[in-house]
């Protein structure tokens, strides 16, 4: 049992660092400014399609498929824009929504609460 727990901790750590590595941009130590500029441009080019894709997510669809899977519908007019920001942050953590999905749902709720 002791062995399996140590193994579990190690796996947990490895998974955590992989996730951190995926999500955290790490600047290259010792790189010249030119290289940094190039790297930044390259990074911008790489992330552009992802941002375009994120903005293309249909918030209504994400809302219906994910929120509705657990609870009955909450109407956009129930909350103000700022209240929805807090609620969606809470629900992003609770439901493990991706950042893009959370943004899409928030946009959908804020656009339909007037």
């Amino acid at each position: 049992m002791k062995y399996s727990k140590t193994l579990s901790f190690t796996i947990l750590l490895l998974v955590g660092f992989v996730i951190l590595a995926l999500g955290t941009p790490i600047p290259m130590a010792g790189a010249s400014e030119d290289n940094n500029d190039e790297a930044q441009q390259e990074e911008a080019t790489k992330t552009e399609p992802a941002e375009t894709e994120a903005s293309a997510l249909d918030g209504g669809k994400v809302y219906a498929w994910n929120c509705g899977a657990c609870h009955s519908e909450r109407y956009p007019k129930e909350r103000t824009d700022s209240e929805w920001e807090v609620i969606i942050t809470h629900m992003r953590v609770r439901a493990n929504l991706t950042a893009d999905q959370a943004k899409a749902v928030l946009r959908y709720l804020q656009e339909n609460n007037e």
Binding site: L12, A69, H71, V86, T89, V93, A99
Partner: protein
């Protein structure tokens, strides 16, 4: 080893995040916002038994949310329940969430155990489609502790077009202890019921294998056969942390498949381990949804009072719960109705316990619901117990 690992678990991610945190200070600071939300319920339970009377009960659970900028959220849920002339209070969760990046949220504090879907997603009265919990998650007799005090990594990673995602929740916590609620709550004979002090004393003796006088032996033998249920521990009483988590894949249209794991010691000496494994699925499509979970738990019992090694407690449990909104019938009244059924079972080797529930829900709105349900509990060696429950639940 554990202390070093814990330091790594907490400190290294913090160090790794120093850069991005400082980088954000240059940006405009979003406003901090507080929000009070939550839910409440009142119900009437009418048991179909000659020696039991119908009774009202109520509960409410305020949820405090405080968002600090874009990266931090404090969230806490308190539970107040009035039953049998007593107000039961509990901190369901109180946690600080750090949204470190798009794929990782670091959580510290007391959080709901990320195991299956009932505990984290379905336990609030306005969300749970029946007034009762399925057998594996009954209050006080849950196979899995509802909360953990510790640290957690969690997040969602987009897959394909971004509508699908892989989710993970991994945690270290103070672990578990024996449940304060004994069999008494389920209506079993009082002589089988434990109070907290007695439970701790007994389990300590079991783990140490101490010998007892003959007067105690007979009582001890009865206790050896009791089922052990576990709660979360508010402090690390045995020097051993619990580890666990859940991974799932969420496809489009509310289809989800997940697997959960939890392992830790629960006795004062850290000698007796409990391990739980679970699989869950959900399918949701417009008016219809169906969900289910399967759990397999192994709890070490240690050494009996006569010196024999006790067999591990092994419980296999599952439930399935379909529901259908009656909006398919073109009439206003039926638009508000939902029918739901659930079958759940615990198989503990020497017998089993089944729960059959049928319910009808009327939705005044998405978060204010009147529930009417019939439930039957059938347990090996006991007479069947039927009850009708009327509940009004409100999410606010």
């Amino acid at each position: 080893m554990q202390k070093a690992t814990l330091c790594c678990f907490v400190l290294l991610p913090l160090m790794a995040m120093v850069g991005p945190v400082f980088a954000q200070e240059a940006k405009s600071e979003p406003q901090n916002r507080f929000l009070l939300t939550g839910y409440g319920f009142a119900n009437y339970v009418d048991p179909d038994a000659p020696d039991q009377e119908g009774s009202f009960s109520l509960g409410f659970s305020p949820i405090f949310l405080y968002r600090v900028g874009d990266k931090f959220l404090f969230e806490a849920e308190l539970e107040f329940e009035l039953e049998d002339d007593e107000v039961e209070t509990e901190v369901e969760y109180a946690q600080i969430d750090w949204l470190a990046n798009d794929y990782l949220t670091v959580v510290m504090g007391k959080f709901l155990t990320p195991f299956g879907t009932f505990i984290e997603d379905l336990h609030p009265a306005w969300i749970n489609k029946l007034p009762t919990a399925p057998l594996p998650y009954q209050h006080g007799q849950s196979l899995v502790p509802f909360g953990q005090l510790g640290a957690q990594f969690r997040g969602g990673i987009p897959v394909g077009d971004g509508y699908r995602r892989f989710t993970y929740s991994l945690f270290l916590s103070n672990g578990m202890r024996m449940s304060e609620h004994g069999h008494e709550e389920e209506g079993l004979p009082e002589e089988d019921a434990h109070d907290e002090e007695e439970s701790h004393e007994e389990i300590a003796l079991l783990s140490e294998g101490e010998e007892h006088d003959e007067e105690h032996t007979e009582e001890g033998e009865e206790h050896d056969n009791d089922l052990i249920f576990l709660d979360s521990s508010s402090f690390n009483s045995n020097g051993s942390l619990a580890v666990g988590g859940r991974v799932s894949f969420v496809a489009t249209r509310g289809i989800e498949i997940g697997a959960s794991y939890l392992s830790g010691s629960y006795d004062e000496d850290g000698d007796l381990d409990a391990t739980m494994f679970g699989i869950n699925f959900t399918y949701h499509h417009d008016l219809f949804d169906i969900r289910g979970e399967w759990l397999d738990t192994t709890t070490e019992r240690g050494i009996a009072e006569d010196g024999d090694l006790l067999a591990d407690q092994e419980i296999e449990a599952w439930y399935i719960q379909p529901s259908l909104r009656l909006s398919i019938i073109p009439a206003y009244f039926f638009n508000k109705l939902e029918v739901v059924g659930r079958f759940s079972t615990l198989d503990f080797g020497e017998g089993d316990k089944d729960q059959t529930s049928l319910g009808l829900n009327y939705y005044f709105s998405g978060s204010s619901i009147l529930r009417l349900a019939w439930e039957r509990i059938a347990e090996t060696g006991h007479e069947d117990e039927d009850a009708v429950v009327l509940m009004f639940a409100l999410g606010f």
